[in-house]
């Protein structure tokens, strides 16, 4: 990047350090990587320590601090994608392009790596090329991609069809079935005082859809009552939990409901500004969001005096993440919004009093805001008619895995697991269902009558079905890999624990596991649960613990020995030195006892 381009970039972002991540994203898009020189210049331009800029640049998976090629391909490495042959497809692409997995081709043209779930497990396998998603990979599609890269075709000249992402809505309800006029819910909200609006919200008993299920009314009221002149509304569209993609669909099919919901929140708590924090992997949705924001400004749904209400000034900005699951955690998200590494803050104080720029801030999930629009329109009581006593409304489930019809299913809260399995065409016998992604619940076939709601199975909406042909140990290994990769490294129990857990599970998968590994893994799981700083670490051991609890023989039959066994092949470890020295004498070998 030339100095002129850099100074333009700084100018466009008003030299605001809070926008550092956005600037780095633009550098990445323009130059293909963030070079040491750029880091130095940005640090100077923003008067930040260089280490601060470098720290941010190295934190996010989608930012490259080494050249990664003109074409940077990242295969989604979720277990669902693996079961759909993503490993073979990746190898095929690597072979066609003559590039080693994970490496940069010597001519600097292309690299092929992996990344965590990119929110497309309903249409696997999938990948990102220079940040743009391509789904439904087949041998033919992979060959087409190889050919395009081979011809050095610019991305904007690739067939548009390649980038098409489906939205398989199999069952629509209150949210997905709605046809809302942009601004309808804002109008309905403005007809009430903010106090009356909060009362409606209380009546609705709406609980957050991001996972924890906190009362939306309580959160908003706390933010409104917090002292301070400015307030913020943030939409959490980071959707990083493997197997979850319903926010993608809501943003593409019900965007105005979401934006209405955010504007309603601004009215309720007295906020002036808001952000949509969109995960970097959803870059393909960004243009539509920008267009909708522009249209809403033109229609006076955003900006000064929204809908002619004097003094109600509210505007929204789109921020993109850059590949970090932990940034879905609300305080890490706020750090990231402020242009820093996504390291969770110490809580309390909570975002409702000390959020963005330490000001009162409401952070809600995409689906929560979409639900809010309906509460504003039809009233809290109507909303509360749906669902159960303590989980009102509907839930959009992201269904993937071994079933005939993966996709989106909106059901009233409290529907049973069995109902959803029937709806998606999952054939009996089922081996297991993972509800809510790796951080939540692994269900055995004995538990199919459990209810999908906060009282029983809290979830951020993921629903992965595993048929009898699948190796659950491989599933858990994939989850362990995910947590080890996504741990932000801030606290020792999680930083060390997730990596050691991955090692122990990999030993079991590789047929070298012993009882010692199982014991060690269980100890780690408990330690992480009890001693980690944030929800990532406290849940990272769940998959293994639940596998042990519900599918013990799956672990036991993988044990290589009940006693101790070396964790690696000793004789193999001498092979490189043996080859170099040409030795083959007795002392040049080590036996595996």
């Amino acid at each position: 990047m030339s100095p002129a381009e850099l100074s333009q970039l700084l100018h466009r972002h008003h030299g605001d350090p809070n926008r550092l991540l956005q600037m780095l994203r633009e550098v990445q898009a323009a130059a293909g990587w963030v070079s040491p020189e750029v880091i130095t210049e940005l640090a100077k331009g923003l008067t930040l320590p260089r280490a601060r800029v470098e720290g941010v640049a190295t934190f996010y998976t989608l930012l490259a601090t080494r050249p990664r090629g003109e074409y940077q391909v990242l295969f989604a490495d979720n277990i669902i994608e693996r079961f759909h042959g993503s490993v073979a497809l990746r190898e095929r692409l690597c072979a066609a392009l003559g590039v080693a997995p994970g490496a940069l081709r010597p001519d600097g043209r292309v690299s092929v790596g992996t990344t965590s779930c990119i929110g497309l497990s309903d249409q696997p396998a999938s990948l990102l090329v220079n940040g743009l998603a391509i789904a439904r990979l087949t041998v033919e599609r992979v060959d087409a991609i190889a050919a395009l890269i081979g011809q050095r075709a610019p991305l904007d000249q690739w067939p548009a069809e390649l980038f098409h992402v489906d939205e398989p809505i199999r069952r629509a309800g209150l949210l997905l079935g709605a046809h809302l006029e942009p601004g309808a819910a804002v109008r309905a909200a403005l007809a009430r005082s903010s106090e009356a609006l909060l009362e409606e919200l209380k009546r609705s008993k709406l609980r957050g859809r991001g996972g924890a299920g906190f009362s939306t009314h309580d959160k908003w009221r706390a933010a409104r009552d917090a002292p301070g002149p400015t307030r913020f509304v943030v939409c959490n569209a980071d959707e990083g939990e493997p197997g979850t993609f319903k926010d993608r669909t809501l943003l593409r099919r019900q965007l105005d409901a979401v934006l209405d919901g955010m504007t309603v929140a601004a009215h309720a708590i007295g906020a002036q500004r808001g952000f949509i924090y969109l995960r970097g992997e959803y870059l393909f949705i960004a243009p539509a969001i920008e267009a909708a924001l522009a249209a809403r400004r033109a229609a006076h749904l955003l900006g000064r005096d929204v809908l002619g209400r004097t003094g109600f000034d509210f505007d929204l900005e789109l921020h993109l993440g850059a590949g970090a699951y932990v940034c879905g955690e609300e305080s890490a998200l706020l750090e990231s919004l402020e242009g820093r590494r996504g390291i969770p803050r110490r809580r309390p104080p909570y975002p409702v009093t000390h959020g963005y720029l330490q000001r009162p801030t409401v952070v809600n999930n995409v689906e929560t805001f979409a639900s809010v629009a309906h509460v504003a329109l039809a009233g809290g009581a109507r909303f509360a008619e749906l669902g159960t006593e303590r989980s009102t409304g509907t839930r959009v489930h992201s269904v993937s895995g071994d079933c005939a019809r993966p996709g989106l299913y909106e059901l009233p809260m409290g529907a049973s697991v069995r109902e959803l399995l029937d709806a998606c065409g999952a054939e009996a016998p089922i081996q297991a269902v993972q509800v809510g992604g790796p951080s939540r619940t692994l269900l055995s076939p004995r538990e199919l009558d459990r209810a999908l709601c906060f009282e029983d199975l809290p979830s951020a909406g993921a629903f992965m079905v595993f048929g009898p042909q699948r190796d659950l140990l491989e599933v858990v290994a994939s989850f362990a890999r995910f947590f080890a990769h996504e741990s932000c490294g801030f606290c020792t129990p999680c930083r060390v624990g997730t990596t050691q857990l991955q090692g122990a599970v990999d030993a079991l998968v590789g047929g070298r596991g012993t009882r010692r590994d199982v014991r060690h893994a269980l100890r780690l799981c408990a330690l992480m649960r009890d001693a980690s700083h944030c929800g990532l670490g406290t849940t990272a051991g769940r998959p293994f613990m639940q596998l042990y609890e519900k599918f013990k023989p799956t672990i036991e039959r993988s044990l290589s020995s009940l006693e101790f066994r070396p964790t690696f092949d000793l004789d193999e470890a001498l092979a490189p030195a043996r080859a170099l020295t040409g030795r083959d004498d007795e002392r040049a070998h080590l036996e595996d006892p």
Binding site: T492, R516, F564, P566, T567, F568, L570, E572, A573, L574, A575, P576, A577, R578, A579, L580, T581, G582, R583, D585, R587, A588, H589, L590, P593
Partner: protein, 171 residues
């Protein structure tokens, strides 16, 4: 009371952990009233005999390290990994991001000696509990004389070793 037999070994380490043991100073006399040293860099015996306790400094960098470690494990009831190198590979494991072939050729040039007396290096440096079962881990680089003494004192008196506050420091 019968004296406990204790062996020690230094694998891929720097002898810092052994030095730390000597740093218990006059308590060495107390120690020697209760233990008898078996094979150890401090005795120069060539073979391990049956032992109650084995202390290992250093990780596994080559075939000989593995052989010595296994030999020691076979001979002792309780094995302790002493110091960062034994526990995690420590400083020598810094070579793990390099290819062992490159390490050898950059040291020896094109002809790497094939003398069977020279132990072959492993492709990566490993912690000792990657290869044998370890009963206790005594962290530190090196563990302080105080920590070592505490551990030995507990062990010799039949108490479950417990390193309290101040005896372990992490990075």
């Amino acid at each position: 009371m019968k004296k406990l037999k204790v062996a020690t070994a230094s694998l891929a380490g720097c002898f810092g952990c052994h030095m730390s043991l000597l740093d218990i100073d006059e308590r060495l006399f107390t120690l020697l009233e209760k233990v008898e040293l078996d094979r150890s860099p401090l005795t120069d015996f060539k073979q391990f005999g049956p032992c109650d306790l084995g202390l290992v400094e250093g990780g596994l960098c080559n075939a000989e390290n593995v052989e010595v470690l296994r030999e020691l494990r076979r001979h002792c009831k309780v094995l302790v990994a002493v110091g960062a190198c034994a526990i995690n590979g420590g400083l020598p494991a810094q070579r793990n991001h390099l290819d062992v072939r490159e390490c050898l050729t950059s040291v020896y040039g094109r002809t790497v000696p094939d003398d069977p007396e020279l132990p072959l290096p492993l492709d990566r440096v490993h912690a000792i509990n990657d290869v044998v079962k370890v009963d206790y881990f005594l962290p530190g680089c090196p563990p302080s004389a105080e920590a070592l003494w505490h551990f030995l004192d507990d062990f010799l008196n039949g108490r479950t070793p417990h390193l309290g506050h101040g005896l372990i420091s992490y990075d």
